[in-house]
């Protein structure tokens, strides 16, 4: 029983990592670009499929670097052509646009890579359990957690210390002032969108190794990521990560002890947070949004 609890917490943690990576990217784009990126899940899937395609040539570790960058290039093109005209307009429009984009991208993925799920072959040494007692600790799961820590840590370092990072954070708080100070906000928004997509790409490759690839994998991960943002607190990047981990672990534990409710539980958590702490765990208090 103890090992089941331990296991389910760990399992939830792994799932929560995907939610957190997704929510972090979504949250960045939401803050500075003011866009609910519904296509975030399909960008993630795309990252996985690109990795699947280039892996035979560059290997797993190579694809881990190259595939997100290729995804980002596509993301930047989308931002430039489709999303930029919508800045400053009712958020309804960017939401609908990315919604349509998600449908198109999912369909394209199905057309290019086929409706059948695709195996993503991991290096053999990553597949084996590390110890017999903790059989769920496979090499890959540990690597997955480490990579996430490195990526998230690097992101927060960039946001805190680099010039562009500081500007992104400032723009998040007050875009007008930043713009008045002579910062090119179009560049800033594009860069920010790119970073968000990069995170989705990384999540996509990690998910490909853990869950396998199918055209609709993105849409199954994006909804919990929304919940993660609301639970963690709108406007707080740390909150998004925290929210992702919390709902991941909650759903992991529920899956082990009350499997019927494993999806519903995250929405119940959201409802509870909304009732007792509407701004979310680490969210800013705003009088009027």
């Amino acid at each position: 029983m103890e090992s089941l609890l331990l296991y389910s917490v760990f399992n939830g943690l792994v799932v929560g990592i995907f939610y957190a990576l997704m929510a972090l990217g979504l949250s960045l784009i939401l803050g500075l670009n003011g866009v609910i990126n519904f296509a975030h899940g399909t960008f993630m899937a795309l990252g996985g499929y690109i990795a699947f395609t280039i892996e035979p040539y560059v290997g797993f570790w190579g694809s881990l670097i190259v595939a997100p960058l290729l995804t980002v290039i596509l993301g930047l093109a989308v931002e430039r052509v489709l999303i930029r005209p919508l800045y400053g307009r009712d958020p309804l429009f960017s939401l609908l646009l990315t919604f349509g984009l998600a449908m198109i991208m999912e369909d394209l993925i199905r057309t290019i890579w086929g409706a059948v799920g695709r195996p993503f072959v991991l290096p053999g040494y990553l597949n084996a359990p590390l110890s017999n007692t903790f059989f769920f600790l496979t090499g890959y799961r540990v690597v997955l957690i480490l990579i996430t820590i490195v990526v998230t840590g690097a992101l927060f370092a960039v946001l805190r210390y680099s010039r562009i990072g500081i500007r992104i954070r400032a723009g998040n708080a007050d875009l007008e002032t930043i713009s008045a100070m002579g910062v090119n906000i179009f560049f800033l928004r594009a860069a920010n969108f790119g970073i968000g997509i990069f995170l989705a790409g990384v999540a996509g490759i990690l998910a490909a190794g853990q869950l396998g690839l199918s055209p609709s994998i993105g849409s199954s991960l994006i909804m919990p990521s929304f919940v993660a943002i609301i639970v963690g607190g709108v406007g707080s990047l740390v909150g998004s990560v925290l929210g992702g981990l919390i709902i991941g672990i909650a759903s992991g534990i529920t899956a082990a002890f009350f499997p019927v409710a494993q999806e519903v539980v995250i929405y119940v958590i959201m409802a509870i947070v909304l009732v007792i702490r509407p701004r979310g765990l680490l969210g800013q208090e705003g009088l009027f949004e």
Binding site: L82, F93, L95, L96, G100, M103, E263, L274
Partner: protein, 325 residues
């Protein structure tokens, strides 16, 4: 002073034109079962378009008139569908009861969810409505014993209507007329709301919540009422959809459908009374046609979303009116 009179005359002319247009629409709708098969369509398709028009018009009361961006209204559509099915299976084989039961179920859910979703505004409101929609989706999927789970709820059908001791079977044509009557009823209700102080206040919420709040109006209450009314109407559409297809399934509550309702409103024109209707007709016909001719129909539907946003943000009716001005 004379400019004002001219303006009023112009307004009258405009509304005169509107009356004629509305009359044409109703006459065309009245004879659908006669002309649609002749041009290669089928009555059930028109019924489905009307059902979507009811749902979109209900949503638009919140979306277009009150300015509340709900991306989760399929949840109430689906609840209406399940409610209707459960009424037919467990309570009594009566179509009116099923319609009533499903509508009330969806509407009550809307009344309960509304205040929680409204804790946040704007873009975050949209996100929360999506998430609540997913919650109902998963409840429907997982509560196997009641809902039939992933397979959906089956085992009910459009039992005959009993009027004055006579049993009237509801074939496609008669069911179309039943839906048409309810569509007319919904449009009348929305029309009445829009010309009442309630409707005026909805529009004021959309235009400027700060102003309204400093007129002493509890803005949240107005949004709640708009939210609730829209969920009742969407749930009504859901019950009719269940009766049309003969079952309720989880995809009736899914976010894809929620998105479709929103794009229907945008496509036809969110600020127009007939916009959602027009959007529904276009969307249903396009979907029906595209999904038959190409395996990649999803791309084309997605393209409709993208094009509507980039080129017709005011919707087709808004576009037409804008050019007329």
């Amino acid at each position: 002073m004379s400019t004002s009179i001219d303006a009023k005359l112009a307004l009258n002319r405009k509304s005169g034109g509107r009356v004629v247009a509305a009359m044409v629409i109703w006459v065309v709708l009245l004879f659908v079962p006669f002309w649609l098969p002749m041009i290669g369509g089928y009555t059930d398709l028109a019924t489905r378009a009307l059902i979507y028009a009811i749902a979109a018009s209900g949503l638009n009361l919140l979306l277009g008139y009150t300015g509340g961006l709900s991306f989760g209204h399929a949840a109430y559509f689906g609840l209406g569908a399940y409610g209707a099915g459960l009424c037919l299976i467990h309570i009594a084989p009566s179509v009116p009861l099923a319609i009533l039961g499903g509508t009330v179920l969806g509407g009550i859910a809307g009344i309960l969810v509304g205040p929680m979703a409204m804790k946040r505004k704007g873009i975050y409101f949209a996100m929360i409505t999506i998430a609540f929609g997913q919650m109902f989706y998963f409840i429907a999927v997982r509560w196997n014993s009641l809902t039939g789970g992933e397979d959906g709820l089956t085992g009910f059908s459009r039992v005959p209507l009993h009027i004055g001791g006579e049993a009237i079977k509801l074939g496609p044509e008669r069911f179309y007329y039943l839906v048409l009557v309810l569509f007319a009823l919904v449009m009348a209700i929305i029309w009445q709301i829009l010309r009442s102080p309630l409707g005026h206040s909805f529009v004021a919420v959309r235009e400027n919540t700060t102003r309204l709040r400093f007129l002493g109006v509890a803005v949240d209450k107005q949004i709640w009422v708009a939210f609730a009314i829209s969920t009742f109407i969407v749930a009504l559409a859901g019950t009719l959809n269940a009766l049309l297809t003969g079952f309720a399934s989880p995809d009736n509550l899914g976010w894809q459908l929620s998105g479709s309702f929103v794009v229907i409103c945008v496509l036809g024109g969110m600020r127009s009374f007939w916009g959602p209707f027009l959007g529904a007709v276009i969307f249903i016909v396009a979907q029906d046609y595209l999904s038959s001719v190409t395996q990649n129909w999803m791309s084309f539907i997605g393209l409709i979303f993208v094009l509507a946003v980039l080129f017709f943000p005011q919707g087709l009716l808004g576009f037409i009116k804008g050019r007329g001005r």
